[in-house]
Structures are given as structure tokens and as C-alpha cells.
């Protein structure tokens, strides 16, 4: 999988070696008068697994939604793999990006949602192959082959011919992970992917993600309340509060010896 990721031929923007894959530069996002992100700057290097933690409403999910262009920043710029995401350069000026430009840059990014969001009108196999075939232009056979491999990875081979409504939440979420990976993104965004699951189904999904984190070189940006999972997979943890990063560092440091009082409070509440 890791080898495939780096040689993947449909990846238009190969990882910029040693440099930052994602860059937020002074990004401000407001909803009405509510400032969700306040002049946020941060980078994620290629191949790193970064976890965003913090109280709800602190802007973590908004970061993922900005990267997926589901919401647009009021100020600042976001770069992915060296390309502006929400802007493009025209005659040396930065102008708001066209839908087409955003879509091209977005091809580097995959996302798994809290509510799975599988397409209920497609069976499992087609959920996974539809975008590779119609967006990346893969041959149907190749896309199906890839889908079968991914279903094996997430342990759902025998459910290939079912509709999403015939699967449990945990199974749906694992299909959603396979669907995102089928696009061979450089970055995988995980938005509270276990929050909507019954407690007994959480472990299965987290095991799959651990496996992916440890065996591939995919960059992960993860919003989660599963602190043990965050500790297992993260290279870096960013603690958010009120739209700002108030503390960041290696998980061992953040989880066992946080500097900031707010971080201590938050961790004692969730751990």
C-alpha cells in the first residue's frame, strides 16, 4: 500500500519532499459574528499523522471542512501539495478559485465523515468504484480490483454486494474508509469517525485506521475524542480552544505533561 501510494499514477501533485503538504496561512473563518478560526497558521508535513483535539466548537471540524472546501475561509490562504486550494493565481494575482481548480487540488484529499455518508443508492462495490472510474478515469476492472483489495483491508469482503442500509454503522464506516482510500489521496481527513457508532463497534473501525496509519505513508488529519487512538497513531497533537492552537507537540508530551492549563482541564474531562 505504501509503495502504491508514492507511485500512484493518478496523483497529480507528488509529495513535496520534506516540505509541508498542508499549509494554513492566517486563516480566519467566521459564521456570522462567531469567529470559529482566528488567524490560524499551521503546517502538516507529508506523511505525518496529526490529531486535532479540543472542546467542541473550538474549530477542529471546521479545519477539515475548509480542506474539503465544504466551507470557505473569510481570510487567509490554504495550500495543499504546493497549490492554493481556495484561491488560484491569475496574472500574478490571487483570486478565488474556480470550482474546477478546487476540484483538482481536492483530488489529493480524502475524507471520512462522522455519519459515514455512503451513497444509499449504490451497493458497497459501486460506492467504492464510482469515483475512481468517473473522476480518475480508471478502467472498471482496475477500480473493482482496487475495491476488493480495500474491502479485504477493512475486513468486509463478504459484504461487497450489499446496500449500505444492510450494514451496521461500523461496517458502513469501514466501507467509507475504503471508499476514501480508493481515490489514493495523499491526505486522509477523519472527522470524528467513531462518534456516531455504538461503543462496541468503535474498536473495529479504529483497528482499521491504526492499520492504515502504520502500514501506509498517507498523511492523516484526524479529529477525534478517542484519546488512546490519538496517542497510538499521532506524530503531532494540536490542542484547540476558541479557534486557536493553544498547544501542540508529540502525543507523549501533550497527554502526559501538558503545559497549558486549558489542555489539562480538557484532558482530565475526556480521559
Amino acid at each position: 500500500m505504501s509503495a502504491e501510494n508514492t507511485t500512484s499514477k493518478e496523483t497529480k501533485n507528488p509529495a513535496v519532499d520534506g516540505s509541508q503538504l498542508i499549509t494554513f496561512d492566517n486563516v480566519t473563518k467566521r459564521f456570522g459574528s462567531n469567529v470559529v478560526l482566528d488567524n490560524l497558521c499551521f503546517d502538516v508535513a507529508s506523511g505525518k499523522h496529526v490529531t486535532l483535539i479540543g472542546p467542541s466548537g473550538s474549530g477542529k471540524t471546521t479545519i477539515l471542512r475548509l480542506l474539503m472546501t465544504l466551507v470557505k475561509p473569510e481570510e487567509g490562504t490554504i495550500k495543499v501539495a504546493g497549490e492554493y486550494l481556495t484561491h488560484e493565481e491569475r496574472n500574478g494575482k490571487l483570486v478565488p478559485a474556480s470550482e474546477r481548480h478546487s476540484r483538482e487540488v481536492r483530488k489529493n484529499i480524502g475524507m471520512v465523515f462522522q455519519q459515514f455518508n455512503l451513497f444509499p443508492n449504490m451497493k458497497v462495490l459501486r460506492n467504492i468504484t464510482e469515483a475512481p472510474v468517473h473522476v480518475l478515469g480508471l478502467a472498471k476492472d482496475e477500480a473493482e480490483q482496487r475495491a476488493r483489495e480495500l474491502l479485504e483491508l477493512v475486513g468486509l469482503t463478504e459484504h461487497i454486494d450489499k446496500y449500505p442500509s444492510q450494514l451496521s454503522g461500523g461496517q458502513q464506516q469501514r466501507v467509507a474508509i475504503a471508499r476514501a482510500l480508493a481515490m489514493r489521496p495523499q491526505v486522509l481527513l477523519l472527522d470524528e469517525v467513531t462518534s456516531a457508532l455504538d461503543p462496541e463497534l468503535v474498536a473495529g473501525v479504529l483497528d482499521v485506521l491504526r492499520d492504515i496509519a502504520h502500514t501506509t505513508d498517507i498523511t492523516m488529519l484526524c479529529v477525534t475524542h478517542e484519546m488512546n487512538f490519538a496517542r497510538d497513531i499521532s506524530d503531532d497533537v494540536l490542542m484547540f480552544d476558541a479557534g486557536r492552537v493553544i498547544e501542540s507537540g508529540a502525543p507523549e508530551k501533550i497527554f502526559s505533561d501538558p503545559e497549558h492549563e486549558r489542555t489539562r482541564e480538557f484532558l482530565s474531562a475526556v480521559l
Partner: protein, 250 residues
């Protein structure tokens, strides 16, 4: 009813056939209009939404009968050609029922969870691909029950054409009434005819609805032959648990 001769029956049956044709052609036109206008009303460009909204308001707010006369009598003055009464009727019915139908299409599209659009964006589908592969297939089963209502309204609305001298069942009935001088039998007969047509339409739409729902894994397909069957789908709450037999994850 024994005093209805074969010739008079023939008049009614020919009228019945014409009513069927009128209904089918106006429904096809109306469905096309409904889809184009309904989808346009959800377009991201405001200008497209305004134009399609204006169409909907204008054609929903005008009488189909007057529109029919307008197309038949006024349009020729401007364009120098006149439609056959039957085609003028189909045009008028299709355009006005299409305006009603566009609301059904728009409403069903709006009822698809926004998260489905987001999932489509996350997979880099183009807006057109998101519409045709994700949104419309899910909106489609929701459209069928209200469309059935509208279709029956349309069927009964075709009786308006009799005023323009198009020989549908209602027109046939008035000829028969004039010939026999009896109202009761003939109007009872066509009442039953309309009902049978409407009932047939409803049965057809039911089959279509079941088939459409099965296509998004929502309900069992119809018991009637020819349609693919899917297992009854458990509700989310009672969905199968991840037990070791499902392969676990790691």
C-alpha cells in the same frame, strides 16, 4: 344502457383512447419540464434559479384552459402557424402541469441529505455527476407518490380539451348524450372510465415506487414478477452487529 348502439360505444371508446394519448403525451412533456425546471431551481447560479422560478410561478398561476386557448388562438397571430388542437392541448397541459411537477422535483432534491452532496464533493465528483449519480437517484423514489397525484390530476384535466372540440371521452360523452337525450347512463359510464384509468395509473406508480425504493436499498421489491427482489432491510437500530463472523477489522 341498452339503448347505446355499437356506434355510440365506439364514440366513447375512441374518446377513451384519445384521453389516454393526451395523458401520456402531456405527462411526458410535463415530466421533462418538471425535471428541467425543478433541477434549475436548485442551481448554484442565482440567474438560473430566478428564471426557472419565474417560469414556475407564471405557469402555475395561469389557468390551463386559458393557456390552451392562448396557444391555439393567440400564438398563430404572432407566429403565423397554428397547432393542431390536440397538440395545443398537450403543450398547454404539459407546460402547466410541468410547473406543478417542478415543485415536486425541487422538493425531493432538497430532501436529500446535504451530507450526500458533501460526500460527493469529498470524492471530487463534478456538480453534474453529483446531481445525476447521487442526488437524483435518491430523490427519485420520493417524487413518485406526489407525481402520482399530479398524474391523476392531469388525467382529469385532459377533459378541458373537449371544449376545444378535441374528441376525448368527455367530448364523446356529450355527443352521445345529444344523440340519446339521456345524461345518466353516459356520464356514469365515463365516470367509471376515468376511475379505471386513474386506478390503473396508481397501480403502475406503486410498482414504480417499490422498484425505485428497492434501488436504494430501502424496501423489498414488488412481489409481482419481473422485478428484482431484495431482502427486507433491517432498520439502522437493529442492524447486524459487528460480530466475529463479519471478519472483525484487523
Amino acid at each position: 344502457m341498452t339503448d347505446l348502439t355499437w356506434g355510440l360505444w365506439e364514440l366513447l371508446l375512441k374518446g377513451l383512447w384519445l384521453t389516454v394519448q393526451l395523458t401520456v403525451f402531456s405527462a411526458l412533456l410535463g415530466a421533462a419540464v418538471a425535471f428541467v425546471v425543478g433541477v434549475a431551481r436548485t442551481h448554484r447560479l442565482r440567474s438560473v434559479r430566478v428564471v426557472s422560478g419565474a417560469y414556475m410561478e407564471i405557469f402555475r398561476g395561469t389557468s390551463a384552459l386559458v393557456l390552451m386557448f392562448w396557444i391555439f388562438f393567440v400564438l398563430p397571430v404572432g407566429f403565423g402557424w397554428q397547432l393542431m388542437p390536440m397538440w395545443a392541448a398537450i403543450l398547454a397541459l404539459g407546460l402547466s402541469y410541468g410547473a406543478y411537477g417542478s415543485e415536486i422535483v425541487r422538493g425531493a432534491i432538497a430532501a436529500v441529505a446535504p451530507a450526500q452532496q458533501e460526500a460527493g464533493i469529498a470524492l471530487s465528483f463534478s456538480p453534474w455527476q453529483r446531481l445525476t449519480k447521487i442526488v437524483l437517484p435518491q430523490a427519485w423514489p420520493e417524487m413518485i407518490p406526489p407525481a402520482n397525484n399530479l398524474l391523476i390530476e392531469l388525467l382529469k384535466g385532459t377533459a378541458l380539451v373537449s371544449i376545444m372540440g378535441v374528441a376525448d371521452i368527455t367530448f364523446g360523452a356529450s355527443l352521445v348524450r345529444n344523440a340519446t337525450g339521456q345524461s345518466a347512463p353516459v356520464y356514469t359510464i365515463i365516470l367509471v372510465m376515468y376511475f379505471v384509468l386513474a386506478f390503473t395509473l396508481t397501480r403502475g406508480m406503486r410498482v414504480l415506487e417499490r422498484h425505485a425504493k428497492a434501488g436504494i436499498g430501502q424496501a423489498p421489491a414488488a412481489k409481482s414478477g419481473g422485478l428484482r427482489r431484495t431482502a427486507r432491510v433491517p432498520r439502522q437500530a437493529e442492524a447486524p452487529r459487528d460480530v466475529p463472523t463479519t471478519g472483525g477489522a484487523s
